[in-house]
């Protein structure tokens, strides 16, 4: 059956939820142990920020949508990723990981990604973001959320991530559909776009930030106890869903991202070495020179109600 973006848009509108729908004072917050708390705090902070930069990527996609329904869908997805970040922040607050009014500071890698998105996201072709978004959502969201549900015993965590997962399933459905639709373009268009992207310094700079970020997140997950098998399954999902689609395989960006994710999970050399060194270099980057973060990063809040 043909995918109808307008129907999906209506479904999205029907399935909206708010932080105020959740009882943040419900029992279960004490299930987080003192042992878990420090590691989980850093981990959750990264999750929050990844959701948040994902939101910004959707914001960049909305104006590029070739028709109105998809543009509106991206507007909602932008907001929904923000909602996920807000909800995750609210979980952190519930678990006593945040002071009043505190928002965790992004790690340096994410800080650079924020800066890069702010400067160049609008310049990226839809094919590039269109391929990257489902990759990140399957790999990171899939793995992260699965891990959290396994590790955290607070029932509210399951409730929140159940809602988040439902949203994400729609993000993935649209993401893969767009990728498939983009794949139907003539091969010469793909070739030109890919060659253009590969020599575009803005996109190359994005790659230099993205590659170590993925390595770092996978390493963190692994260090926190997420099995490599689960990580591998999450990554394979991108490959499997894309492979089943009619035209997705025609998108070079899909193959590049798929190969990179597979190599990251397997720690293939020399990519792993380069990625780690890049990560180290980023850790030494004086992010202070970037000045004040863009104001969209100030939109995060754990408060369900803005008075």
């Amino acid at each position: 059956m043909a995918f109808k973006y307008s129907d999906m848009l209506e479904t999205i509108k029907d399935r909206q939820w708010a932080l105020a729908d959740i009882d943040w004072d419900a029992p279960g917050a004490d299930k987080i142990t003192d042992e878990q708390r420090p590691g989980l705090k850093q981990f959750m902070a990264d999750v929050v920020w990844i959701e948040h930069v994902g939101a910004r990527a959707f914001a960049a996609m909305a104006p590029k949508a070739p028709f109105e329904a998809l543009g509106d869908i991206y507007r909602y997805f932008h907001a929904e990723e923000q909602r996920h970040a807000n909800a995750e922040l609210a979980l952190m607050k519930r678990w006593g990981m945040l002071e009043e009014g505190e928002v965790p500071v992004p790690n340096k890698n994410i800080r650079l990604v924020i800066e890069w998105l702010d400067r160049y996201a609008e310049a990226l072709p839809l094919t590039v973001i269109g391929a990257a978004i489902p990759a990140l959502e399957t790999a990171l969201d899939g793995a992260l959320l699965k891990f959290l549900l396994d590790e955290v015993q607070d029932p509210l965590c399951a409730e929140v991530f159940n809602k988040v997962n439902n949203d994400e399933s729609r993000h993935l459905a649209v993401g893969f559909q767009v990728l498939n639709d983009l794949g139907a373009s003539p091969m010469r268009i793909h070739t030109i776009q890919t060659l253009g992207a590969l020599v575009d310094p803005r996109i190359l700079a994005g790659g230099v930030l993205y590659v170590p970020l993925l390595t770092r997140m996978l390493a963190n997950l692994n260090a926190m106890g997420l099995s490599e098998e689960k990580l591998y399954n999450a990554v394979m999902r991108y490959e499997n869903v894309g492979g089943r689609s009619e035209f997705t395989r025609r998108v070079p960006g899909y193959h590049i991202l798929k190969a990179h994710m597979s190599a990251s999970i397997k720690r293939s050399q020399p990519l792993h070495y380069i990625s780690q060194r890049l990560g180290t270099a980023i850790d030494y980057f004086p992010t202070e020179v970037l000045g004040k973060p863009p104001s969209w990063t100030e939109e995060l809040t754990y408060e369900p109600v803005a008075k």
Binding site: K13, Q16, W17, A18, L19, A20, A62, P63, E68, G71, D72, R75, Y76, H78, A79, E80, Q82, R83, N86, A87, D118, E122, P294, S295, W296, E299, T301, E303, P304, V305, A306, K307
Partner: protein
């Protein structure tokens, strides 16, 4: 005043009163104006929100035949415009013609008597030989189709129905919408309310408004030397007319206008993300251009916040956006526009000759001949009818052209003692097809969603051209465009030549049963001899063009 008059005008706003004045100036005083409210003024009576003003300079947003030298500033406020309207009413003693509190609920043409009847709910009926629709396209305020609209327990205000008794001073206020009304309301609200949250769906292009006060000496000069005022009006007119090159048609000038608007945004907004949120994603002119110098500064005030997240639903305490946050507010101001009456359907049932329903015929989109007359609806005239909206110039210039056309036609009907005066369907289709063809290259049809278009993208609202073109097109009545029947029934064919404009001659069939002679109707045989008609396009040619567009 009897219940049957020569002319019946629906609406005592700018258009209805302008028509009345022109009728009086033509020596026609057998008319009635039906007004549903208790006061004159239409849009300017209804829109009394703080900051209400016209985004066209007052010297131009007034009738050429009734100029006002006393405008206090370039862009006068709504109150001053309403005063101007009331001054006209007093000057011409128009109140004697107006029936206030009469809400027209239907208009029906009777084939036998060739009279229009206005139903007014449970009230009396009004009959007239000629009916003029002057009910205005922006008369009916519309609340947006937002989920949970009825669940909100706080105060709700529509911009066109402002509640002046509601004290904003210590209130948290949400404004939904960022169109022409909103950009005027928001700067006022941030001055009075405790906090203002502006919920934006689509940002518009904003140009600075060169507003300045008219000094006393200028007003005195306008009073003493009306030619100077006319010259000033002409200067404004041609400055706006020039803008059509970029605002009506999608041209490099459109890009130039966007660059000016972007420079204005950059000058007024320092934050990059806020600029990004306020940058439109459509061609300038596609939606109504916003004219404001204080909107951007107001958005950046400490007590104001722009929210560009989609609204998920209204809740009892406020507005929930898709980022999962509930914005608690005391009052929601809906600056969300109107049910635009001129693009599809009719404000109330209008039944023409042979029982035809205009709302049925316009259900897919409105059309008319020169925006004024519709085939099958004899002796009925529209002000602000289909495809008469300007995107770049004063609506009153267009309205005045329509009024002059209508009054001239009414003069002909009276002078020649015509029973019916009805546009030929082929001429209407030809005209409409041409308008739709020309609309394809305009900014309005360049891909954005606006109130100019129906949901399926049909543009029955705007006129694709310069104001000068529109005025010229309506400057004469070509009798070859109309079928007329005389009031007295005769059996033989008769040729009527209108002395007023003898350029074309219509030969018309007489003595038929039905008054509203229309070649395509089943009861009327096309026994009409026509001079100089030209090629007749297929019926509903306009629809075909519409699909292509």
């Amino acid at each position: 005043m009897s219940d049957t008059t020569t002319v019946l005008i629906v609406g005592a706003g700018f258009a209805g009163l302008g028509t009345a004045i022109r009728l009086l100036q033509q020596g026609i005083d057998d008319f009635v104006i039906l007004e549903r409210a208790e006061e004159v003024g239409g849009t300017w009576r209804d829109n009394t929100y703080p900051g209400a003003a016209c985004d066209i300079p007052s010297l131009l947003y007034s009738y050429a035949f009734e100029q006002n030298p006393n405008w206090s500033r370039a862009y006068s406020g709504g109150g001053e415009i309403l005063d101007y309207i009331k001054t006209m009413v007093d000057k011409y003693s128009l109140s004697r013609f107006i029936r206030f509190g009469v809400n027209v609920t239907g208009l029906e043409f009777d084939d036998e008597s060739a009279l229009w009847t206005a139903q007014t709910g449970d009230g009396p009926e009004f009959k007239a030989r000629i009916a003029v629709m002057a009910s205005g396209p922006l008369a009916n305020a519309s609340l947006p189709n937002i989920r949970g609209l009825d669940t909100f327990l706080g105060h709700k205000i529509h911009s066109a129905r402002w509640d002046h008794d509601y004290d904003m001073s210590d209130k948290r206020v949400a404004v939904v919408g960022t169109g022409a009304s909103a950009v005027q309301i928001i700067p006022e609200l941030v001055d009075t309310a405790r906090s203002v949250k502006v919920f934006q769906r689509t940002p518009g292009w904003v140009l600075p408004r060169p507003d300045f006060s008219h000094p006393q000496w200028a007003r005195a000069t306008f009073r003493r030397v009306p030619l100077v005022q006319s010259a000033a009006r002409q200067a404004w007119f041609w400055a706006h007319e020039l803008m059509a090159v970029g605002m009506v048609w999608d041209t490099p000038v459109t890009t130039g206008i966007q660059l000016v608007a972007k420079a204005n945004l950059r000058r007024q907004v320092s934050d990059g993300w806020l600029r990004r949120q306020l940058t439109p994603n459509f061609r300038a002119g596609c939606k109504r251009m916003l004219m404001s110098s204080d909107y951007y500064p107001a958005l950046q005030r400490d007590n104001c916040k722009l929210v560009s997240w989609p609204i998920a639903t209204l809740s009892p305490n406020g507005i929930r956006t898709a980022d999962g946050i509930e914005h608690e507010v005391d009052c929601i101001v809906f600056a969300t526009g109107f049910d635009v009456g001129c693009k599809a359907g009719t404000p109330f049932p209008i039944r023409g000759a042979d029982g035809r329903e205009l709302s049925d015929e316009w259900s897919q989109g409105a059309y008319a001949y020169k925006s004024v007359t519709v085939a099958g609806y004899p002796n009925l005239f529209f002000t602000f009818g289909p495809n008469s909206g300007p995107g770049h110039n004063s609506a009153l210039v267009y309205m005045e052209a329509q009024i002059n056309y209508i009054v001239r036609a009414i003069g002909a009907i009276i002078e020649d003692d015509l029973r019916t005066f009805e546009v030929r369907e082929d001429r209407q289709n030809q005209y409409h097809g041409e308008v739709q063809r020309r609309l394809a290259s305009t900014t309005w049809n360049s891909g954005c969603k606006s109130w100019y278009l129906t949901t399926d993208g049909y543009n029955g609202t705007m006129y694709p051209g310069f104001a000068t073109q529109f005025v010229r097109a309506l400057s004469e009545i070509d009798t070859g465009d109309y079928l007329t029947t005389p009031a007295t029934t005769r059996s033989e064919h008769q040729t009527i030549e209108h002395a007023r404009n003898g350029s074309k001659v219509a030969q018309i069939a007489q003595g038929r049963k039905s008054a509203g002679a229309l070649p395509t109707r089943s009861d009327v045989k096309p026994d009409v001899l026509v001079v100089d008609v030209g090629d007749v396009p297929p019926k509903r040619a306009a629809s075909r063009v519409r699909n292509d567009a």
